[in-house]
């Protein structure tokens, strides 16, 4: 140990540190300044940025001793007491905060920029924030926030909320408001799982298979057990309860036992708990392990072959999903022209900024309490309880804030391991993944191969669509069958097609498991159909927008699963508005022509277009419910409790707004408490763009139930009819009398009435594929136009401008909505241009953020126009439906179509390979 003296936020600190300790670790774990986050540990993401002598540095790779005698500024040092730094205020008001995990790094980096350049240009901001990544894609809002802060600092211009043309309607719902948790997120006070610590806490670590397929024939932990500082070494044989976990099919072993198979490189074979993370890692190296290698299958098409190596004994087919409508043979006979092509999408990594962390601690009742940033608290509880052999009520799952999820935090990561080790040692155990382990372990987006065959009349009317999909679900089921189910039903696009035949095969392989990821199969399907639609338009000499418009689903249409759409089909409106805005950019000129870029003859620009749709909620027969609890507290405020996750999408805001709206309360009188399986009823999984609709409705009706109880009390007490009693601005007006919520609560309690009430919202029934009835209770729709620039020589592609319209039913939380749509767009640009999760023969090549690049601020288009269409759905809260996923989906096909329009080369796969593209352009020119 060495002594380190330095100044942190102007306070002198002297402490003992290890020679090789990094500044981030010292700030977080020794000084408790957990506002500085660690995300990648490899100098790629900028999240851990702090200022040393005023200059931004990456604290995760900055030796702490190097800071000796220097002044370090962290996010905690930016505000002056209660008064926020202008950047902090501007980030909140501009919606530059979503999951919040990168926010401290963004603000600190921006603060350094403003101190060297008081009035930065967009280019200055881009240059300064180039390597400070945000997976939520808040970059456009960050740029606005920095300008706003600069205006405040230089010209004392007040920081205002932005204005949108889709604002309004009601007192609270539809208004621009700040996230209730934003203040914590901009000051570094926000608590994520790794920010929590307990006395005597141990550190867990996991030994991974490292090979994609093999039988475990030897596992000797004796040396590891003897290492000083090791408190437990745990293998499959020690698991008291169920070994396997899984959200639908329990086929994923928490630990692989001797004689059993490892099925992918990330399979766990042993776990340890130790006094320090270093000792835990050392112990892993002492475990003697041997495998008998088995043949590997890594391609879903090959996995279907008769003689393919078996991943699971029952066969490699997880599910064959079918959709048939009309008569496919007749449909193609009626067609005057037939098109067919095959499209490929790779696996993608969620790359949420917060790597997985679980803390488990034994509690007095013999159970365990788990802290984890998860998307499905109740599923975690049930799976942990099963593994530990405990009744479910002995496991309590509590959700701190979540630093992004995007579907990647639905399955079990370290929850069971932490709980097993806590149970074994009787002490709290933290299992924190570094970035590499995170990328190794959690399920990815399904890689797919999708063949699409379309039959049309020469006028462009679709007569038949046949698709065949293969999805690589990897080693374990996760949500594979559901994901590929959504790929199936979305594979013929948001179009009226009378004759449909779809066959989809979700296949096991020895690749990392695939599961939920924003877009959930529908993303992959959209790429295939929308690329082919553009090809069809060209061959038929039709405008690609017109082709889509003529076939678009509309009110009264019947979907490929036979669902009659009776309302809330805003697709035509999305198409029309997107086209109109796009034409404004081109001055009315045909946007799909290839245009030279001024002064650069080697570059071409053009627009591309795509449309899409996405179901809201689980659908296809899955019960889709949520229960909310509401309580009128003694101080007159209201708390709404529900076990659903705030993963950056803005659920806390939405639930707060809805509750405030229903009760006529000011926002700050509503507290939202989420994700605690002991104290909050089940809101269901945070997935499928369902939370605003399902939990939103649960909150709305729970608030209504409370309001009715209050009305009953007052009506009786004052002998009035409920219609004579009004709720407004936190005041209850009954005749001439004004009562506060606290007073009414007092009355209720005095009468023995309940002030804590529950409401279970049950969504409209859906039916499984193959059965009669609706598959989904609502769909959102979107159209996206993107202008790209292609360098004809180098093949480099960039998205220049983007116009998109999304039908969300009702914009409940406009600030959050704008951010989510922009962020979805940016993720879509990443999927098209920068990202690909590469697995070679079962081994992960893209094992770090330096190899897996998410879009940075420089990938943001120069102009983004977000159009919100509100075609309400009657059952949704205020007409609202899901929006979390859809904005990513049409982006890759719009970009690929734009690339074709610009340079004449069609791509059948993403991401765009500039190398291949450049050589194809050259070939075509010859």
């Amino acid at each position: 140990m060495k002594s380190l003296t330095f100044w942190v936020n102007d306070k002198k600190q002297t402490l003992e540190v290890e020679a090789g300790e990094m500044l981030a670790d010292v700030l977080r774990y020794r000084l408790g300044l957990t506002g500085t986050k660690i995300s990648c540990g490899e100098s790629e993401c900028g999240v851990c940025t702090v200022l040393v002598e005023g200059e931004p540095v990456l604290s995760c790779n900055y030796p702490a001793l190097k800071a000796a005698g220097k002044h370090v500024t962290t996010i905690e040092g930016l505000a002056q007491g209660e008064k926020l730094h202008p950047l902090q205020e501007a980030f909140i008001k501009n919606g530059a905060v979503q999951c919040g995990f990168c926010t401290p790094g963004q603000i600190i980096t921006a603060a350094a920029l403003l101190s060297s350049k008081a009035d930065p240009t967009d280019q200055d901001i881009e240059y300064a924030l180039n390597d400070t990544l945000c997976r939520c894609g808040t970059y456009p809002a960050i740029v606005n926030a920095i300008h706003a802060a600069s205006d405040k600092i230089n010209h004392n211009k007040p920081i205002e909320f932005p204005t949108y043309d889709f604002v309004g309607g009601l007192e609270v719902v539809g208004q621009v408001v700040a996230r209730p948790e934003a203040r914590q997120k901009v000051t570094g006070a926000a608590v994520y799982t790794d920010d929590i610590t307990f006395p005597d806490m141990l550190f867990g670590a996991t030994l991974r298979a490292g090979i994609p397929h093999g039988r475990l024939i030897k596992l000797d932990c004796s040396k590891a057990k003897k290492l000083p500082g090791i408190r437990a070494v745990f293998t499959a044989a020690d698991i008291p309860g169920r070994v396997n976990h899984g959200l639908i099919i329990q086929d994923w072993p928490a630990l692989v036992g001797v004689g059993e198979k490892v099925r992918y490189v990330g399979d766990a074979v042993a776990i340890v708990a130790a006094d320090t993370p270093e000792i835990a890692q050392k112990a892993l190296a002492l475990i003697d392990v041997e495998y008998e290698p088995l043949p590997v299958v890594t391609d879903p098409v090959e996995a279907k072959a008769e003689d393919a190596p078996l991943v699971h004994e029952e066969g490699n087919l997880l599910k064959h999903i079918k959709v048939n409508r009309g008569d496919i043979t007749l449909g193609f006979e009626q067609a005057e022209i037939i098109f067919e092509d095959t499209y490929y999408t790779p696996a993608y990594e969620h790359a949420f900024m917060e790597p997985e962390c679980s803390i488990a601690r034994p509690v007095d009742n013999g159970g365990v309490e788990i802290y984890v940033g998860s998307q499905i608290a109740y599923a975690d509880r049930d799976q942990v309880a099963a593994a530990l052999g405990l009744p479910q009520e002995k496991v309590r799952v509590r959700g701190p804030l979540v630093g992004g999820g995007f579907g990647g935090k639905e399955d079990i990561a370290g929850q069971i391991h932490a709980a097993l080790l806590a149970q074994a040692t009787g002490k709290p155990v933290k299992v924190l993944y570094d970035r590499q382990e995170s990328m190794l372990v959690h399920p990815k987006r399904h890689a797919t191969q999708i063949r699409v065959k379309l039959g049309l009349k020469r006028d462009g009317t679709l007569t038949a669509a046949q698709t065949e999909l293969y999805g690589d679900t990897g080693a374990y089921a996760s949500l594979g069958a559901k994901v590929m189910g959504r790929a199936t039903t979305h594979s013929t696009g948001p179009y009226i097609v009378p004759n449909v035949k779809i066959d989809c095969y979700a296949m096991y392989t020895n690749n990392p498991p695939s599961g939920a990821f924003r877009g959930f199969g529908a993303f992959q399907a959209a790429f295939a159909i929308e690329c082919l639609m553009d090809k069809v338009a060209e061959e038929l000499k039709l405008d690609p927008v017109e082709l889509r418009r003529m076939n678009a689903l509309r009110k009264g249409s019947i979907t490929n699963t036979g669902q009659h759409l009776t309302e809330s089909v805003g697709l035509l409106e999305c198409i029309n508005q997107t086209q109109a805005e796009m034409l404004k950019f081109t001055g009315g000129e045909d946007p799909f022509l290839s245009r030279e870029v001024n002064g650069e003859p080697g570059k071409r620009r053009s627009w591309g277009f795509a449309v899409t749709f996405k179901n809201t909620g689980l659908g296809e027969g899955a019960p889709d419910n949520a229960t909310a609890e509401i309580e009128l507290l003694k101080d007159g405020s209201v708390e709404i409790r529900i076990s659903s996750a705030e993963i950056g999408q803005g659920l806390v805001t939405v639930l707060q707004m809805i509750t405030a709206q229903e009760l006529g309360l000011p926002l700050d009188k509503v507290n939202v408490y989420l994700s605690d399986t002991d104290l909050t009823p089940d809101g269901g999984p945070t997935t499928g763009s369902r939370q605003t609709y399902i939990s939103g409705n649960a909150a709305r009706y729970a608030a209504g139930t409370l309001k009715n109880a209050m009305l009953d009390t007052l009506a009786e007490k004052l002998n009035l009819s409920p219609e004579e009693i009004g709720f407004k601005d936190g005041v209850i007006q009954a005749n001439d009398q004004k009562l506060s919520f606290a007073e009414v609560g007092e009355l209720m309690r005095a009468e023995g009435r309940k002030t804590r009430l529950k409401y279970e919202y049950v969504s409209p029934k859906t039916t499984p594929l193959g059965e009669k009835g609706d598959k989904h209770f609502a769909y959102s729709f979107a159209a996206q136009a993107i202008e790209v620039e292609v360098d004809l020589v180098t093949g480099e592609v960039r998205a220049v401008r983007a116009v998109g319209a999304t039908d969300v039913g009702k914009a409940i939380n406009p600030l959050g909505l704008q951010g989510q749509v922009e962020g979805g767009l940016i993720m879509g640009i990443g999927h098209a241009l920068t990202e690909e999760f590469i697995v070679e023969n079962g081994e992960i090549f893209t094992d770090s953020l330096s190899r897996y690049r998410m879009p940075s601020i420089k990938h943001v288009p120069e102009d983004i126009k977000v159009i919100i269409v509100e075609d309400p759905t009657a059952e949704g809260p205020y007409g609202g439906k899901g929006v979390g996923e859809i904005s990513t989906m049409p982006v890759p096909p719009a970009i690929v179509n734009a690339v074709y329009n610009a340079c004449g080369i069609r791509l059948n796969r993403i991401p765009i390979d500039q190398d291949w593209l450049a050589l194809e352009i050259e070939k075509a020119a010859r």
């Binding site: 300790e21 480099e796 330096s850 500039q914 450049a918």
Partner: protein
């Protein structure tokens, strides 16, 4: 997590080389530490017992014009390079190359010496220094010596000096004379590691007529080591920089480089396609600057 056992922060070069020499176990030098620390963390670099942090040695942080040379300390950061007026005048290609590296957090700590000693065939700083005919100053307990930069590379990540006992402490290159200019450019791939698919730096000296009197050209990755395109230089010397000489230069350059396909990064064909693109951009720009 502690990434190493011993952390030395010498104030002088003499101390630093002593720290290296008397290290009991494995030893490594860091300045910004941006590459080394993460290599250790990811298991791509063997465990290191002692780390010698040379960023506090003032002699290694200097940038100075000395008679006909510019001295550039090895611990000068990318941030300092891109904001240094002396280098803006004398080392345009280095400033350009270093400006493209990383974001401000990395530029604030990453040093030019670190870039060079990493010995990657396509380090942006390395390639740009090569175009300036740079010499490198290497210190050990036996004293200091100057060597041509091009001679210290032995292969990817490998150097010809003794890392256990020797240390790069600085660089020098000729000051910019009249009618001289330099430039740097690169092509990146949006997916995967942020190392250039191909980069190139060029320096030219024009004669009174505006023809190219002298030229230096470096590029990477064009072989296992950073590459000086001597044959192409020889050809261009004495020519006017016109379409005909450009075309022939492209042919010679394509012939003398050794480009290859690297998985998930670039094909050999694509790299060959980029050669003339970069040659044109870099030399056009260098010639323009030489005229100013």
């Amino acid at each position: 997590m502690s990434l190493f056992q011993e952390y030395m922060q010498p104030d002088t070069i003499e101390e630093a080389v002593e720290n290296l020499k008397d290290a009991p176990g494995s030893v490594a030098v860091i300045a910004g530490g941006t590459d080394l620390l993460l290599d250790i963390r990811q298991g791509r670099h063997q465990a290191v017992d002692r780390v010698v942090d040379i960023s506090g040695i003032s002699e290694m942080q200097e940038v100075a014009l000395e008679e006909n040379f510019v001295y550039l300390g090895a611990s000068v950061t990318h941030k300092q390079i891109i904001s240094n007026s002396l280098l803006a005048e004398h080392a345009q290609c280095v400033v350009e190359g270093c400006g493209l590296i990383g974001g401000p957090q990395v530029r604030n700590v990453a040093t030019i010496g670190g870039n060079v000693s990493h010995a990657l065939p396509a380090g942006d700083g390395t390639i740009s220094l090569l175009a300036l005919d740079t010499e490198v100053r290497i210190a050990s307990t036996d004293g200091v010596r100057w060597r041509p930069l091009i001679e210290i590379f032995a292969g990817p990540g490998k150097v010809t000096f003794d890392r256990k006992n020797e240390l790069i402490v600085g660089f020098r290159f000729p000051a910019r004379g009249p009618r001289e200019g330099s430039a740097f450019d690169r092509v990146m791939r949006p997916q995967g590691v942020a190392i250039a698919i191909l980069n190139m730096a060029g320096w030219v000296k024009l004669d009174e007529k505006g023809d190219i009197e002298d030229v230096r050209l470096a590029c990477g990755p064009a072989g296992p080591k950073p590459f000086r395109a001597r044959k192409t230089e020889e050809f261009i010397k004495g020519k006017s920089w016109d379409e005909a000489s450009y075309q022939e230069a492209c042919r010679i350059l394509a012939d003398e480089v050794s480009l290859r396909t690297s998985a998930h990064r670039a094909t050999k064909e694509y790299r060959h396609k980029l050669l003339p693109v970069l040659l044109q951009k870099v030399l056009d720009s260098a010639v323009e600057r030489a005229k100013l």
